[in-house]
């Protein structure tokens, strides 16, 4: 007995039971049958034909008009059948796309990976969590030959795959920068020209660029429209915004970036972040700066990586574990 005959027999049996005594049992059997027929890719028009064959067999005296009406039903079901098959094939395509995005996301992680530098006087921690699969946040460290450390944190405006592509470009222009151009202002001016020339005009980047010199324990920094970081004074136990003015990258190719500097004492902490941190939204509204600072203060005595991890955990909890924006937090703590 072939597959179609088996299905036909099964269907006929259900039909017969139901015609005989209209039980819920028979209706339940037909539900199970429909699941099976979908699994075996039986189309709606085939179902009608199956039905017609069954009923003609069971009730040979049915009026001709009723049987003819099934021809119309079959014709009408043709388009449903086609739509259903198209839907199936689109679902396959969708699954392929999701797989590709997953591969791309893990490639992005590898491509954009950056090593957290180790130097004796500075404890560095970083956390970056994407809201969706592909992150629009980016951070980068460079250890220079003279012992200085460069740090950059960027937010690509526009999310997902286009942002990720743009980020790779930023990463390669930063990697190909000569070791002697370490000044944060120069770095931003150079990148601004790259972005202005090469990136889609509706795509912009905010970036905070910093340089830590272990010789004089000074932090030099510039900002291209990026969320200001915080500076923690260990002596007074107070926080201060790391104010820096500068235009977004990619708006004006002649933009200039001022450089600021700050002396860092033992125990002082520099916190750099993306707007996913400050624009964090909770049930009650936006996270206030004071609340954020309170969280940071609670953990400021910990190691740099622990501060970053704990603050993230707190904010994640506040937002019910649903990140609306990419989240990146970098901590630099002078230990000696």
């Amino acid at each position: 007995m072939n597959f179609r005959d088996r299905m036909l027999d099964e269907y006929k049996e259900i039909l017969k039971t139901y015609i005989h005594d209209q039980t819920e049992q028979a209706l339940y059997m037909s539900q199970k049958f429909s699941r099976k027929s979908i699994e075996y890719k039986i189309s709606p028009e085939e179902m009608i034909s199956l039905h017609k064959t069954s009923i003609m067999d069971l009730e040979p005296d049915l009026p001709e008009s009723l049987l003819l009406s099934l021809d119309i039903l079959l014709e009408v079901m043709m388009s449903y059948g086609l739509a259903y098959r198209e839907h199936q094939s689109l679902r396959t395509i969708q699954r392929e796309l999701i797989n590709e995005i997953e591969v791309a996301a893990s490639m992005q992680q590898t491509l954009l990976g950056t090593q957290i530098p180790r130097i004796s006087s500075l404890d560095i921690g970083a956390i970056s969590v994407p809201a969706k699969q592909m992150s629009g946040d980016y951070y980068h460290f460079v250890s220079h030959e003279n012992g200085a450390i460069s740090v950059a944190i960027a937010d690509i405006i526009g999310k997902g795959i286009p942002a990720a592509l743009c980020m790779s470009m930023i990463k390669y222009s930063m990697d190909s920068m000569p070791d002697d151009s370490q000044n944060p202002g120069d770095v931003l001016e150079r990148l601004n020209r790259v972005v202005e020339q090469n990136v889609d005009p509706t795509m912009f980047i905010t970036m905070f660029s910093g340089l830590y010199h272990p010789d004089n324990h000074t932090f030099y920094y510039s900002s291209a429209g990026h969320e200001p970081g915080f500076f923690y004074h260990a002596e007074t136990g107070t926080f201060e915004e790391l104010q820096a003015k500068g235009l977004l990258l990619g708006v004006d190719k002649k933009a200039k970036y001022n450089e600021y500097e700050r002396k860092v004492e033992v125990g002082d902490v520099i916190l750099l972040m993306s707007d996913g941190v400050t624009e964090c939204r909770t049930e009650e509204g936006f996270l206030e700066v004071d609340t954020l600072i309170a969280y940071i203060k609670k953990y400021i005595h910990l190691s740099a990586q622990d501060i970053a991890d704990k603050v993230y955990k707190e904010l994640e909890y506040l937002q019910d574990f649903q990140l609306r924006d990419d989240f990146t937090l970098i901590i630099l703590k002078r230990t000696a």
Binding site: S49, M78, L82
Partner: protein
């Protein structure tokens, strides 16, 4: 071997093409479901001619290959042609505007499908359904 053809000029010619296809399908012994598939495919092809090319022709032929028997549907027009074949063969492209099953639908309904189109010259589509 040329069995028969229908010129497609107005919407009623679509019905004539369907009728011709159904007669041949019945004659060859296709079941009701396959008959419906073949006529739906003819409908789609004829509608494309009527809507986009203005006029053209649907030809129906019986075919034999070894022990297999079947029928061929040929759609031919001298309309504007299709500039991007890959696009029209994509699922979701023609259906999104409520234009019906489109060419991917025809391909699904039939066993074999081939298309040639030259922008400015016209379109030639050949499809085969085999009797099982």
């Amino acid at each position: 071997m040329m069995d028969s053809s229908v010129k497609i000029i107005n919407e009623w010619d679509i019905v004539a093409a369907r009728q011709l296809g159904r007669n041949v399908a019945k004659e060859l012994g296709f079941g009701t479901v396959d008959q419906a598939r073949i006529t739906t495919a003819i409908s789609e092809l004829a509608r494309n001619i009527y809507l986009y090319a203005g006029q053209g022709e649907i030809m129906i032929e019986k075919v034999e290959s070894g022990t297999k028997k079947g029928m061929t549907i040929i759609s031919r027009d001298e309309g504007p042609g299709i500039p991007d074949l890959r696009k029209v063969m994509e699922d979701g492209f023609s259906t999104s505007g409520g234009l019906g099953a489109g060419l991917p639908g025809v391909k699904r309904l039939m066993d074999e499908f081939s298309i040639e189109s030259t922008p400015g010259k016209g379109t030639f589509i050949q499809s085969v359904k085999w009797l099982r």
